[in-house]
């Protein structure tokens, strides 16, 4: 128990540092911002109680908001992602269900499963985030393009990190 709290605490700090120190400073063409911190919500244990998941999502979003000087945007997107996570897990659940007490990792459930799971989560998060940021539907398709491009980049980072974790 204490072990896993330490482990997730470390993952949390590393992802936030990666996001704030590195990725927030990479400003590609103005269309692409990878948001990799959402990976923390992805990696939490499958059987985590939903209230804890929501509170952790809230805290994560709030911290990112603090560092990006945007109030509430990341918080609302991350809380929504935390809320839909159990449903997404149910949608993508493998044939023989989940092993009890396991983490949703590529190591256990394979690349295809992880890819689909991560893609759905990142799409939910990015779509909410970018549409809240624009706060209008006037540029619907341009915002959509931003969502898709950023999703591509975030997914690349997330898969790289996950491959690295598997390799260890």
């Amino acid at each position: 128990m204490i072990n896993s709290i330490l482990r997730f605490g470390l993952i949390f700090i590393l992802l936030i540092l990666l996001q704030v120190l590195l990725l927030n400073n990479i400003q590609f063409s103005g269309y692409v911002n990878p948001y990799v911190y959402i990976m923390f919500i992805l990696l939490l244990p499958i059987e985590i109680p939903s209230w804890l998941l929501l509170l952790l999502s809230f805290a994560t979003g709030l911290i990112i908001d603090f560092f990006s000087g945007s109030t509430g945007m990341h918080t609302s997107a991350t809380v929504l992602a935390g809320f839909v996570r159990p449903y997404i897990l149910r949608i993508v659940s493998p044939k023989d269900g989940y092993e009890s007490g396991s983490d949703p990792s590529m190591m256990i459930y394979g690349f295809r499963w992880f890819f689909l799971y991560a893609l759905l989560m990142v799409l939910v998060h990015h779509t909410t985030l970018f549409y809240i940021e624009v706060f209008r539907f006037a540029d619907f398709f341009r915002t959509m393009l931003r969502v898709l491009l950023s999703t591509m980049f975030s997914m690349t980072f997330i898969l790289l990190i996950e491959f690295y974790r598997r390799g260890k």
Partner: protein
């Protein structure tokens, strides 16, 4: 009572979710508009140490370019000095009482945090109240428009970037003097939109766009950019796409300009409103 408890237990995650989203949307709704930047200001003070460290690293990496720009500025200033020196060495010269005529005060500062890829962009500079920076001062970068100060703490200030739809600037076409309103449409960080120019006005691609000085914030004649494209918008006006002169991706050394006579102008104008 029992039903209520059952209901709460059954839908507890939904209730927590709605509660947390409520807080988040409350935060969004208090988001900094032009006159309400206090939250951003206080929130940012907590993360400023980190931002300054990041900026130090970044500025180290771009030293070469900064040097070149400073050298160019030096040359320009030397030229100005040589003009003045000549004037003083002649036998008769008139004395300009500089403080009497001076309308604008310049302060140079460095940008320590900046963004271009959000919808509402702000940047933070490393001078504040104690260096005389005040809210509503203009920010220019190498004589082209960059933003306006919206909040100050003791040693830092936050400026609203031109790349922010809340930023409206009174700008005109230099060649013929027709003025309109310039703002960013949230798309490309290199372009802004100049509207309210009537269609009988002759517009050419490449025309210079500059500030008017009507707002009492920006001095007259600060360059905004050049016309890169225009189209007829509605029945009466042009929609002019302006290629911005300031490269917001490289924003680093900036000048803050305060208008000494602003209060005088505004108070006079208030009488007639």
């Amino acid at each position: 009572m029992r039903n209520l408890l059952n209901f709460l237990v059954r839908y507890n995650s939904l209730i927590i979710f709605l509660f947390l989203e409520g807080i988040a949307f409350y935060l969004i709704s208090t988001r900094n508009s032009y006159h309400n930047s206090r939250i951003v200001n206080s929130v940012r003070s907590t993360t400023r140490g980190v931002e300054e460290k990041i900026n130090n690293t970044k500025s180290y990496l771009s030293l070469h370019e900064i040097n070149e720009r400073l050298a160019a500025e030096n040359i320009a200033l030397r030229n100005n000095i040589s003009k003045l020196v000549k004037k003083e060495s002649s036998l008769f010269f008139s004395v300009d009482d500089s403080t009497h005529r001076q309308q604008y005060l310049h302060t140079s500062a460095e940008v320590i945090e900046n963004s271009i890829n959000r919808q509402r962009n702000f940047f933070t500079i490393n001078k504040g109240d104690s260096q005389g920076i005040k809210v509503d001062m203009a920010v220019i970068s190498a004589n082209s428009v960059a933003g306006v100060i919206v909040g100050c703490s003791k040693d830092y200030s936050v400026a609203m970037s031109l790349l922010n739809p809340d930023f409206k600037l009174s700008a005109r076409i230099k060649s013929n003097g027709y003025f309109g309103s310039l703002s960013w449409d949230g798309r490309d960080y290199r372009y802004a939109i100049l509207s309210e120019i009537p269609q009988h006005v002759l517009v050419n691609v490449g025309d210079t766009i500059e500030t008017t000085g009507y707002s009492a914030i920006f001095p007259e004649g600060v360059i905004v950019g050049t016309v890169s494209d225009y189209e007829k918008f509605g029945g009466d006006f042009y929609k002019i796409t302006v290629l911005l002169m300031t490269d917001f991706k490289k924003l680093h050394f900036i000048d803050v300009i305060g208008n000494i006579k602003k209060t005088e102008q505004l108070e006079l104008e208030k009488l007639f409103k």
